[in-house]
Each structure stands twice: as C-alpha cells, then as structure tokens.
Subunit: 137 residues, 2 copies
Amino acid sequence: MKKNSLTLLAGIMFLLAVVSAKAQSSLPPSIKKGTIKVTILYPNGEGKKFDMEYYTQKHFPMLRSLFGSALKATAIDKGLTAGSPGTPLPFLAIGYLYFDSAAAFQDGMKTYATKIRADVPNYTNITPIIQISEVVE
Amino acid sequence: MKKNSLTLLAGIMFLLAVVSAKAQSSLPPSIKKGTIKVTILYPNGEGKKFDMEYYTQKHFPMLRSLFGSALKATAIDKGLTAGSPGTPLPFLAIGYLYFDSAAAFQDGMKTYATKIRADVPNYTNITPIIQISEVVE
C-alpha cells in the first residue's frame, strides 16, 4: 500500500513537472512550434470603424463554432498606438486563429467563407489583410 | 504519517488542478487580458530580405537581455502565404513582445532604442511597422 502511494505520488509529480514545463513557454499551451497562425489585420484609416464588442461576442464565437476542433486557439488584440510617437495607429484590431495545418484553415474556408464574409459588415467597414504564418517560437 | 501523505497528495492535486486550469486558456500562460503586446511587422516587397535565424538566435535574445523582467513573453511568426490565393504574402515575419504596460516598453526604448535599431540591418533591409496593442482575449 505504501509502495503504491509512492508510485502514485511519483506519477503525479512527473505529470506536474510536464505541465509546469509547458507553462514556461511563452506560446499558448495548445500551440507548438510549427503551428499555423492565421493573422487577420484591420488597417486603420480615415472613416474606418471596428466594433470590438461584436467581434469578441459574436464573430469569434461564430468562427469557433464553424471550425470546431480544427481551430486550436484564438486571440484578439485591440490597437492602441503606433510604436513611434506621431505615427498613426497601423491597425484598429488584429485577430489570430491557430490551426494544425494550413489545409485545416483552407478546407474550412471552402465551406464557410461565404458565411464568414457575410458577417464582416456587422462589425467593420475595413477590408482585412489576411496572412498565413508558421509559429517559429 | 498516512495522514501527512494524504495532505501532501491533496496539496499536489490542488496545484495540478490550478496549473491545468491555466493551460486551458488560449493565451500564453504569463499573458492576461489587458497585457500590452508590441507587434513588429516586416512588410514583404521586392528585394526585401529577412534572416529568421539571426532574428531568433541573436536579435530576440538581445531584446530579452535588454528588457529583462519587464518583458513578460515573446513570440515570432514566419510568413508563409496570403490568406487569399494569388495575393502576395503581406509580411515576411511578425515579432511580438508582451509587457505589463505600454510605459514598460516605452521606458525601455528610451534607453535601448539606439542599440536595438543598430542591430536591425544585421537581419533585414525592411523598415518594420510597430504597433502597441492591448490583449483583449
């Protein structure tokens, strides 16, 4: 019984060490080097509008629901200022979608692009820049 | 002794639950809503060059060393393709620096900007777009 407890304890501590080691990474826990990151940038400009509440409360939940388990993680940034004083803010918002492969995103878009694009005018009048990147670190 | 073991076990399992709960978030573990994210984008274009090995092996380690504990996390993306077929790749690379406040970044830049800028020609001929964002989710 005592031996069993020690084995259990050792197992739990090993698991804890693994989980903690993961937590040291600056990447989201579900994101590994090589993960595909779809970045959606909304350039700033005169007359440009972006409804962050709709984007976070309606658009992203819709994306999660459409892509399902293929979508590994998401993130949203709200633009504050340019890095250099006196320069206009480059992007009003940036959204991120993480997938295991570019195909996982592209296959989903074949099916859902029309539905996704139809929702865009509900939160912005900006044509976004979309980039597919690989997470390097 | 048996009671002590059980208490220890309960403590470890609680800790494991806390760490695991954190791991469910799609944000890096050290990043909370409201964290400041400095995004450095390197636009693609004819004749543009970017040395990813230097960026990951030399430039980012230098940034971590200069900003020290003010820099909460970092991430690097390598641009693969545009989101729409037939469109040129928007950015060759995107770097991310996470801080607790915009002042933490700006104060560091007051001291280190000259040194950081002097290193840029070692890995690229691109003038980056720099944006300060707030992590919304």
